[in-house]
């Protein structure tokens, strides 16, 4: 038989409600459905003596409908046990509703977000100020450079990234070569594949791919590391011990990445061109020697240098945003995730924006 929580008998001049079974969190939805159907046209006698078990949810439901019925008709409760009564008084004492946070309109949200962005920009400028002052201090007193930490981060963000950078660059080099060779073969300009691959990799793709991979890899790590240190109060502890977090945490990361990223770009250029070489051998049958000879002719050193110049700039963007977002983490774990996401998104966007800026600059300068 299906469990019955509430039954009622209709009599001549009154309605008898009988509560029974378990009035608990698990059953209140069913009970409420039944309670809603109770007709309110005559006197109600509510018998609660056969309730076997109840919890605060059950009692609250009872109170809610007790009040409702009382407004409509006269109501009498029978079989109230002492325990139920105690619970009833306890729960009706603070029956004030919790004020839920006001919902914002879309228009308000846009305004709030705009202000938040402006605030972030202001904060970032402050952050850059602190960083520059720490840099000046170390400049004047080179003993304060955190050499050990810097080397550690070069190893972490640079050396340990070689495999993933190599793999990505190789694949991108191959793809460029494949796509390009199909088009060039139509004109019989097979040999120009070397120009396409070499110049696009060294000037644009090498630096860009490296920066994007590193933003995802090291930028996020910086944010999470510093954010976690903020939550555990390690940063506050450093401050009270006289260890300036900008000197001890930010500068080593920024400097390490500014050294490591150009080196990674150099590596990415080589592997990318090699990828292109492999693909053009397979697709167009250009031998490695032919490829190399052509490469000597077309790839001027300037293309390579123009690509490398972007390295420190991208590194600065990635590392400083990574650290900045880490410092913004507030005292909850969700905040680490949010700030890590925005760190990577901001860094990648800015890398692409600055790359566009470099392109315009180079074109205007006729390079």
């Amino acid at each position: 038989m299906k469990k019955q929580f509430l039954t009622y008998e209709v009599n001549q001049d009154y309605l008898k409600l009988i509560s029974q079974g378990e009035w608990t969190l698990a059953s209140i939805r069913q009970i409420e459905k039944k309670l809603r159907q109770v007709p309110c046209d005559k006197k109600i006698i509510w018998d609660v003596s056969s309730v076997e078990d109840f919890d605060s949810a059950g009692v609250l439901l009872f109170i809610e409908y007790y009040e409702r019925f009382k407004q409509e008709v006269s109501l009498e409760v029978v079989g109230y046990t002492a325990k139920q009564k105690e619970m009833h008084t306890l729960l009706s004492e603070n029956s004030e509703e919790v004020i839920s946070p006001r919902k914002m309109s879309e228009f308000e949200k846009i305004g709030k977000n705009t202000f938040e962005i402006l605030y972030d920009i202001k904060e970032f400028i402050t952050f850059l100020g602190h960083m520059s002052s720490a840099l000046l201090h170390t400049w004047r007193n080179p003993k304060r450079i955190r050499l050990k930490e810097t080397v550690y981060h070069i190893h972490q963000s640079g050396f340990n990234a070689l495999i993933i950078i190599g793999l990505t660059s190789f694949l991108v080099g191959m793809v460029i070569s494949y796509q390009g060779s199909v088009q060039l073969a139509k004109f019989g300009a097979d040999m120009f594949i070397v120009d396409t691959v070499a110049i696009s990799i060294t000037r644009e793709l090498g630096p860009m791919i490296t920066a994007i991979v590193i933003a995802g890899r090291s930028g996020s790590a910086y944010t999470a590391e510093i954010g976690a240190m903020k939550i555990t109060e390690e940063i506050a502890a450093m401050r009270t011990m006289g260890f300036d977090p900008y000197t001890f945490l930010v500068l080593p990361r920024v400097i390490a990445l500014m050294i490591a990223l150009p080196l990674l770009i150099f590596f990415s250029d080589i592997v990318g061109i090699f990828g292109g070489m492999v693909a053009s051998k397979m697709q167009l049958g250009i031998s490695m020697t032919q490829f190399m000879d052509r490469l000597y002719e077309v790839l001027e050193v300037k293309h390579y240098i123009l690509g490398m110049i972007k390295g420190p700039v991208f590194a600065f963007i990635i590392a400083s945003i990574g650290c900045f977002r880490g410092f913004q983490v507030s005292d909850n774990t969700e905040s680490i995730g949010l700030h890590t996401t925005s760190s990577v998104v901001n860094a990648i966007f800015l890398v692409i924006a600055f790359d566009a800026l470099f392109s315009v600059l180079y074109t205007e300068l006729g390079l």
């Binding site: 109060e233 401050r239 011990m241």
Partner: protein, 257 residues
Amino acid sequence: MNPVIQVEGIVTRFADRTIHDGVNLHINENEIYGILGESGSGKSVLMKEMIMLLEPNEGKVSVLGTSLNGISFKDAQSLRTEWGVLFQFGALFSSLTIAENIEVQLKEYTNISKMMRNKLVSSKLALVGLEPHVGALYPSELSGGMVKRAALARALAIEPKLLFLDEPTSGLDPIGARNFDALIVELRDLLGITVVMITHDLDSIFSIVDRMAVLADKHVVAEGSIESVLQSKHPFVEEFFKNEYTKERFKDKVKDV
């Protein structure tokens, strides 16, 4: 006698919430000073203002005779080597071992030899009652009580004159808490340091604290020894010290009220 810490007319606001509205207190040399108050009364904020983690909106703080208002970088750095801070959850550097945590300031600010540093580290470990082998462990490998002890050892590493403790006995078992209290008294007597501690622990308040400030309603509502604090008629003091439990537990001290 000059006070070690002097706080005058502190006003602290966060957005539109006022935390302190004119807080005054002074802490004398070589005493154990307690800061108490209900949660949210700004005890931790006040301590953060003393150790230069926060700046009050108004008012003056001076520590060890140096005013913190408009303090120069150099003075701030030298002040920071004269105090030790124990954070509520230890805040040990998680990437360093306990021994490295303790010696980090020695390494940075002194040029003593590696051998001497090792000796100092093991003496600090012994002082706070930790086994020598703990030095090789990482903070994540320690229990809560051991983390607090290790953090205290770190705070004592550069022989500070002033020690700040944020709820040193919270989260410790009763025996551990009493031992920690005894340790604090011992350190004060032995090394002659001044101790400032935030605490809720009635045992600590009645047994080891010399003077205290009670924060409530954005002000210091009572300051001084336990006897003079008990004279206060402020509702928080009434509720905190003059409830049945406290009266029963510390009969001999709370009898006169």
